[in-house]
Symmetry: C2
Subunit: 343 residues, 2 copies
Amino acid sequence: MKDHPILKAARGEKPDYVPIWIMRQAGRYSAKYREIRAKAGSFMDLCRNPELAAEVTLLPIHEIGVDAAILFSDIFVPVEKMGINIEFVSGKGPVLSPVVKTVDDVETLKVPEPEEDLPYVIETIQLIKKKLTDRPLIGFSGAPFTLASYILEGGSTKDYLAAKTTMWNNPLLWDKLMTRLSEVVTKYLISQIEAGVDLIQIFDSWMGVLSKEEYKTKVFPYTERIVNTIKGKYPEIPIIHFGVNSGHLIEINDKLNVDVIGLDWRTDIPFALSKTDKSIQGNLDPVTLFAEDYIIERKVGKIIEEGIAARGHIFNLGHGILPKTDPSKARFLVDTVHRLGKL
Amino acid sequence: MKDHPILKAARGEKPDYVPIWIMRQAGRYSAKYREIRAKAGSFMDLCRNPELAAEVTLLPIHEIGVDAAILFSDIFVPVEKMGINIEFVSGKGPVLSPVVKTVDDVETLKVPEPEEDLPYVIETIQLIKKKLTDRPLIGFSGAPFTLASYILEGGSTKDYLAAKTTMWNNPLLWDKLMTRLSEVVTKYLISQIEAGVDLIQIFDSWMGVLSKEEYKTKVFPYTERIVNTIKGKYPEIPIIHFGVNSGHLIEINDKLNVDVIGLDWRTDIPFALSKTDKSIQGNLDPVTLFAEDYIIERKVGKIIEEGIAARGHIFNLGHGILPKTDPSKARFLVDTVHRLGKL
């Protein structure tokens, strides 16, 4: 396993071909996924059901032929065990309650012990690892800033008003919450590694809404702490760090002790390589899967060519695959990357 | 008028102080605006009412003391005269119908003659210019890509699926629509200049969702054509070009014959200045107006210091002022820029 192309690419060794996985590859674009999702109850119920979560995790291996599976779960899975209720309201997204407003509110938030509080995640990983022997399994967590933005807003937001004003106007509350979340994320990721995942991705999905200063002073130090703790314990487990719209933060994230920087489609690879020597992941625009095949082939060709100059390159979309995507186009993408990506 | 600090900054001459205006400065954060808006009927009715539109345009001059007014209007004002119906549906944003799907659909779209089809815009400008004698009036239009994205989607979109797939899968339709829109925008902006605006801003609000290649080949040439036509006729009228999230496109836009590149808050000024020698506009995060005063002063200080290295600098927010903003904070921002921005 340790010589699998994804792990080699992450470590900056030379694999035989450019490996590919796809963000949200076990998702709504798949009819089989929708079927399993429908019988599971709520979305969070599916995340908490090891048999079904494992089945969903493995779907894209068979359906589209990706080189790795990613644990089917959600960034809110550990958050609900902190004592915050999550509800998915149609047309509105996640609604979190109670909304954290004070330092005292933060004190009430628990740091979940994964073995006791999240046994279904560990069990899901163990089930997947039994069935998936020839490809890596990716574990993941949301990063503190992205989680904090939901916890302070009580849900999704366009302007990140609560998160940004808290970091400016109430630095003590910000530090307490980010510190608490860093503990949660660290324990959660370590439990995934101990259960058997082969590499991890940290989703700081929304970091790109921050300017360099805010990111560097109010967010980066917490992610750095998480990464350093994990690397101190499990130096051999590669870490991928990803957020959309974050090309302006690459030179800061280059200082994180992670192995791979994920890129969205706006950040072209030559630019990224001028800011970091790390391996890269990405970065086809998810909408490209709605284009004619020759357009997909052309853009894959460009990305692979550009990625050759990187320390290592894991192919991926620049953000999650869109629910309306035709699965045959996802399969075509994987086949195209494998056909053009011989190294 | 031609020596006003905003015009000097745009041209790269040295004004006495850093001038400021604010995107959406005549907007919902103002109680007086909400009052006028309520008596006008629909939002589009307000745009079509010269007396009220002029009154709204001038509000922020008195209320917060900005250095320029911007015509109160909407990017859809010329679009409805192309033969597309616009409705603002609460919680959904603009809904456009019919949705353009074929080359034949494009052929039915009219190029409005501003004097005949948009007389209220010209009249609004003339009314404002009578009252506003000591500061410039900014005219504006949406750019073809931003307008095309609404026209092809039939409204707002998160993924720009229709616009992107049209540019890839149906390049003829894309070219016809973008060409038509370029004619519309050119005529519309020229009519504003002839009615008396002192400078113009082209809002290519959503260009930042495109990768460099798409932007360069499928969008830039149309904006270039508009700008070159206007500059051929009115070389003395400065042009500002702005879109959110478009730091990765600055080096392309540097080749536009515009005077000022607008920056959102993610794109730090030193980075922008490494990509363009043009004057810049921006770029305080609009959420900063919810922070404590000393945070606002500090960030204004940084932006002014950084802007000194630019050819010229017009202070602005990095995107529109948020409706929930306390007007006294907007006033404080303007005063702070004037206090710290002596040159």
